[in-house]
């Protein structure tokens, strides 16, 4: 198998006996955007957080670059996380730090805590941060405090922070759910462009089915902690959506 990421038999129970994920098996290719859709509370966020172990899986394997992340020690996990970028629904920036400092958070896995505290980053990291700010269209905002930005700008900073890690995989947890429709399209487009340019796969949880159809190369439909659809966006039908979200009134 040449999958970039393989999830095998992934189970997560927050409360013993009540699984949120009931045995997920998924392989992700080295390229392309995979959109995970499904109703709220079906475990999409849990799935994505089990991949980089922000949430500890109860059982199963997460194989990334040939190693099972679930079995790694804390130090090994940190070094694996350095290569997995993550983008969040509420951006999760450090509000009181500048945009530049937020971007450099993406390098914290590589810089010693003392040097990071003293802001003594390698010149290459800082040059890359400025470059990325230009790419995401925030070239003039390096010194602005993160809490002075709009939602769309914050998410661009979030994406740039993930890009600072030079990721081999990008996880995005509802990256557009707090944004207006136009900004949502821009953010998805930005992630698509960056993923194609740098050649890493993206796994994105998304509520907006239209947005998923437009940008994803593959859609994974989840309901009740299981995968019920896995295929290209053009083959997903109303029948599938009914199975994923339940009911049908909302489709009309």
């Amino acid at each position: 198998m040449s999958a970039a990421l393989s999830v095998r038999g992934l189970v997560k129970e927050y409360v013993p006996g009540k699984p949120v994920l009931r045995g997920i098996d998924l392989d992700f290719e080295a390229r392309g955007i995979s959109a995970v859709i499904g109703p709220s509370g079906t475990g999409k966020s849990t799935l994505i957080r089990c991949i980089n172990r922000l949430v500890e899986p109860t059982a199963g394997q997460v194989i990334f670059e040939g190693r099972d992340l679930v079995k790694l020690s804390r130090a090994e996990l940190r070094s694996a996380r350095r290569r997995i970028g993550m983008v969040f629904q509420e951006y999760n920036l450090v509000e009181r730090l500048s945009v530049m400092e937020n971007l450099l958070c993406g390098r914290l896995g590589y810089v010693s805590p003392l040097k990071a505290w003293l802001r003594r980053y390698p010149g290459g990291d800082i040059a890359r941060a400025f470059e990325l700010l230009d790419i995401v269209g925030l070239g003039d905002f390096a010194q602005a405090r993160a809490d002075s930005l709009s939602g769309g700008q914050r998410q661009r900073v979030g994406i740039a922070r993930a890009m600072m890690q030079e990721p081999r995989l990008l996880l995005a947890d509802e990256p557009t759910s707090s944004l207006d429709p136009k900004t949502s399209v821009e953010i998805m487009g930005l992630m698509q462009t960056l993923a194609q340019a740098h050649g890493f796969p993206v796994i994105v949880n998304i509520h907006n089915v239209e947005l998923a159809r437009r940008f994803a190369d593959r859609i994974v439909g989840m309901t009740g902690g299981r995968v019920v659809y896995d295929g290209p966006p053009e083959r997903i039908t109303e029948r599938h959506l009914k199975e994923i979200y339940g009911g049908e009134d909302w489709l009309e």
Partner: protein, 262 residues
């Protein structure tokens, strides 16, 4: 069943509350009589107070060298104790924060703070005077202990109120724990810490004028001696200087907070 018209009351009497007020009044009267707090005693006290006030004025600043020496020592005790207290409180507060640390780390840290907060600084000062001898060192140690108890608790609560979203994001980058703290935790609480430390410095300034009474250095010793010699005009000079110092401290903390955008 809706009651109508005349028997609906907008403000029904609360007999329990009225009873509680009555009990409180009865107890106050009892306690006052027990302590022989009679109008006659009060009048005698007022007369004595008037004589005392008359002897306070005019303040006597002739022994200003003694005054300045004591005030400078008090100020130094306050500042050194605040700095030491802040430095010790920060790691302790990080250990005590239950949202970052497991129970086995947070409980001992909390216990240390509770012990530090258990006694009034003057009592701690008496202990340190016995332990390390008379002088400023005892005062510094006593106020450091008090600062750790107070700052530690406030800082812990501030850390427990932070948003965990940036913490999650920084952890996801593979950052070591120390960097998670300096990038995701401290920026969220720093301005509040500046406020806490300036408040504690203010409290230490006041307390440092008092620990001298038990021999732990500073203006308090001079003040106590002046009282005992009935040099009330010198007492007045000392008290006025202390008030001026506290006011100057107030102005200074406002400026410090401005600088740190707190």
């Amino acid at each position: 069943m809706a009651r109508t018209g005349s028997n609906r009351s907008a403000f029904p009497p609360d007999w329990w509350a009225r009873g509680a007020w009555l009990l409180l009044l009865v107890y106050l009267l009892y306690a006052a009589s027990h302590l022989e707090l009679t109008p006659a005693r009060f009048a005698a006290g007022l007369e004595h107070g008037a004589k005392f006030l008359a002897r306070l004025f005019p303040p006597d600043f002739r022994r200003w060298e003694l005054l300045v020496k004591g005030m400078v020592e008090s100020l130094q005790i306050a500042i050194v104790a605040s700095a030491l207290g802040s430095l010790l409180s920060l790691p302790l507060a990080l250990l005590a924060a239950r949202n970052l640390m497991p129970v086995w780390a947070s409980w001992p840290a909390r216990a240390v703070m509770v012990v530090c907060r258990s006694f009034h600084p003057v009592i701690v000062a008496i202990l340190f005077v016995k332990a390390v001898g008379f002088g400023a060192l005892a005062g510094i140690l006593a106020l450091t202990v008090a600062s750790v108890g107070f700052l530690g608790k406030l800082m812990t609560e501030a850390i427990e109120e932070i948003s965990l979203k940036p913490v999650e994001a920084v952890r996801a980058t593979g950052a070591p724990f120390a960097s998670v703290v300096t990038y995701a935790v401290l920026p969220q609480v720093f301005s509040r810490f500046v406020g806490f430390v300036s408040y504690e410095t203010d409290a230490n300034l006041r307390n440092s004028t008092m620990v001298g009474i038990v021999g732990a250095g500073g203006i308090g010793g001079t003040l106590f001696a002046a009282f005992q010699r009935f040099d009330y005009d010198f007492v007045c000079a000392i008290v006025l200087t202390i008030i001026a110092l506290i006011m100057a401290g107030e102005v200074l903390t406002v400026q410090v907070k401005k600088v740190f955008r707190a």
